[in-house]
């Protein structure tokens, strides 16, 4: 956390204003920039490829791991493999996220490949924020791949946020749920300019009584393009709900393709998808409070993406 750019990125992607409490690993420009393991959370460097293993001891409660990535060099292509092993009965918060500050004219890219192995009855809250900034013309590209394996009775809440500044994103998320496991995914995305974002989420409900809820909210401005492809596959008695809700503005384009599939007669899977402009009555209502149209629009979008 040497300079202002680093601090600003860290505070935006991980709400970090100082060295975090608990375990952490900070990766800057493709190299480790700070790390701390704790008695229950061990972070080690992978031997065979770039990345780290994070091992959380069984029954670890109320602890957190921060693993932010910041890139301030232009032209860097950074690929990292991070594996999380969450022990039985643990209850932890994992804050990831990537901030790119590209001041140059070459493309800067970060591909984070995260695998989660969540033990029996463990609970994980995973927060991932993506931020792009910098005055250069170089593209800022983030392609996260997330694979989650949830054992029996585990709960995984994933919050994935990308608000502005990232030129191109391809997000692939795959989750397998064993019996009574529960998944909650909340995805929020705002694109502008000529940005492109695609998010594929594949959820396989393999065990009895597994459940999944996927909520995706997005706003596409200017000429940006978004594609959502959430897929829920019920392979057992299970429940899943997929909801994609998008606000479209200017000359943006959005495709929303929720897919549900059942391979078991007791699978209950529902999807909802909607794309629309900002409701005019909402704008007028806020204008009757004395706001001008631009501010009203901003308030509606902020609320929608909150």
């Amino acid at each position: 956390m040497s300079d202002t750019i680093d601090s600003a990125l860290l505070s935006e992607i991980a709400d970090l204003h100082a060295v975090p409490a608990g375990a952490y690993n900070i990766r800057k420009n493709g190299a480790a920039s700070g790390r701390r393991s704790t008695a229950n959370i061990e972070i080690t460097t992978k031997a065979d490829r770039p990345g780290i293993d994070i091992r959380i001891a069984p029954f670890t409660k109320n602890e957190s791991v921060h693993i932010p990535v910041i890139i301030t060099e232009t032209g860097l292509d950074d690929k990292v493999y991070n594996d999380f092993y969450i022990g039985e009965g643990a209850d932890v918060l994992i804050v990831a996220g990537c901030g790119i500050h590209n001041a140059g004219d070459s493309k800067t890219q970060h591909d984070g490949i995260h695998r989660f192995f969540i033990g029996r009855n463990a609970r994980v809250r995973y927060v991932e924020k993506h931020v792009g900034r910098g005055e250069g013309t170089g593209e800022r590209v983030l392609n996260p791949t997330t694979e989650v394996t949830q054992e029996e009775g585990s709960v995984c809440e994933m919050e994935m946020v990308q608000i502005k500044g990232v030129d191109s994103t391809l997000r692939q998320t795959t989750v397998h749920l064993a019996a009574s496991a529960k998944l909650i995914v909340t995805e929020r995305l705002l694109t502008h300019g000529a940005q492109k974002a695609r998010s594929n989420i594949d959820v396989y409900l393999d065990g009895a009584d597994a459940s999944a809820q996927i909520v995706s909210r997005s706003v596409a401005k200017d000429k940006s393009e978004q594609v959502f492809y959430p897929r829920a596959v019920g392979n057992n008695l299970c429940k899943a709900h997929v909801q994609c809700d998008s606000i479209i503005m200017d000359s943006a384009k959005i495709r929303s393709i929720p897919e549900i599939a059942a391979n078991h007669s007791e699978a209950q899977i529902v999807h909802e998808a909607a794309i629309g402009r900002i409701n005019n009555d909402q704008l007028v209502k806020l204008q009757t409070f004395g706001m001008d149209e631009a501010r009203a629009e901003d308030v509606i979008i902020r609320g929608f993406l909150k």
Binding site: R217, K285, T288, F289, G290, M291, K306
Partner: protein, 245 residues
């Protein structure tokens, strides 16, 4: 003070023009409580929307506290002290009741104040502060939150478009008391569009709008007995087919 002068609003082409509001004029002095009533489809809501600036009149003038606001935007009218509670309020995904009332208030509304407003509209306040103003609220709950957004403001003119719609009779009694108090304490003048006798009982003045025109207007004492007579006879103010005498 509000003056509506010869206000008209029509839709369609000149060949097939439909007059929604046709040469309506009236004056509302400060401190007065006006109820606009009349059959459904008669133009009441359009008149309210014209005063708020949501619709633009074809001709005529609207003067508020001596300023011609006919061409002013909704935002500028709001800043000049006019507020409007929608007949069908919009829902906001991701916005809490407390957040919406704070936006109405103009800054972060202290929670005790927010609770007071919610209690006044018959909502158990602590339960509602962090509820989202989205599809999880019932129509009646949404209408009450809408009324509370006007309570959070101090206005020269507060306009309520059928505030009673969707609100059960039990809560309605409380709502009437709220309106009574609101006129006294918070706003200089109030316009309520309503079919409810109980709300008309609060009025200083009543205007009956039908077919886009002022059919009758006057003080409550003069007009209400006549309207109630009509109610028993042919004029069903709840909006069924009406024949005028």
């Amino acid at each position: 003070m509000l003056e509506v002068r010869d206000l008209s609003f029509s839709v369609g082409s000149s060949a097939q023009k439909l007059e929604i509001i046709d040469s309506v004029s009236f004056t509302l002095d400060d401190g007065k409580f006006l109820v606009i009533t009349g059959p459904n489809g008669g133009g009441k809501s359009t008149l309210a929307r014209l005063i708020m600036g949501i619709e633009k009149p074809t001709s005529g003038q609207i003067i508020f506290n001596g300023t011609d606001i006919t061409r002013m935007s909704v935002t500028d009218r709001a800043r000049a002290g006019i507020g409007y509670a929608f007949q069908h309020p919009p829902r906001f995904k991701g916005m809490t009741v407390h957040g919406l009332l704070s936006l109405a208030y103009g800054e972060d509304l202290p929670k005790d104040k927010c609770c007071e407003f919610l209690t006044n509209v018959g909502l158990c306040s602590m339960e509602y502060l962090d509820r989202e103003v989205d599809a999880s609220l019932s129509g009646g709950e949404l209408k009450r939150v809408e009324i509370a957004t006007l309570m959070a403001r101090r206005l020269g003119l507060a306009i309520f478009d059928e505030p009673e719609a969707g609100i059960d009779l039990w809560s309605f009694k409380m709502l009437v008391e709220t309106f009574r108090q609101m006129t006294r304490d918070r706003h200089d003048s109030v316009i309520i569009i309503s079919h409810q006798e109980r709300i008309m009982q609060l009025a200083d003045e009543i205007i009956v709008i039908a077919d886009g025109r002022v059919r009758s207007s006057g003080s409550r004492e003069d007009l209400l007995p006549q309207l109630l007579g009509e109610f028993d006879d042919v004029c069903n103010l709840k909006g069924n087919t009406v024949k005028y005498r």
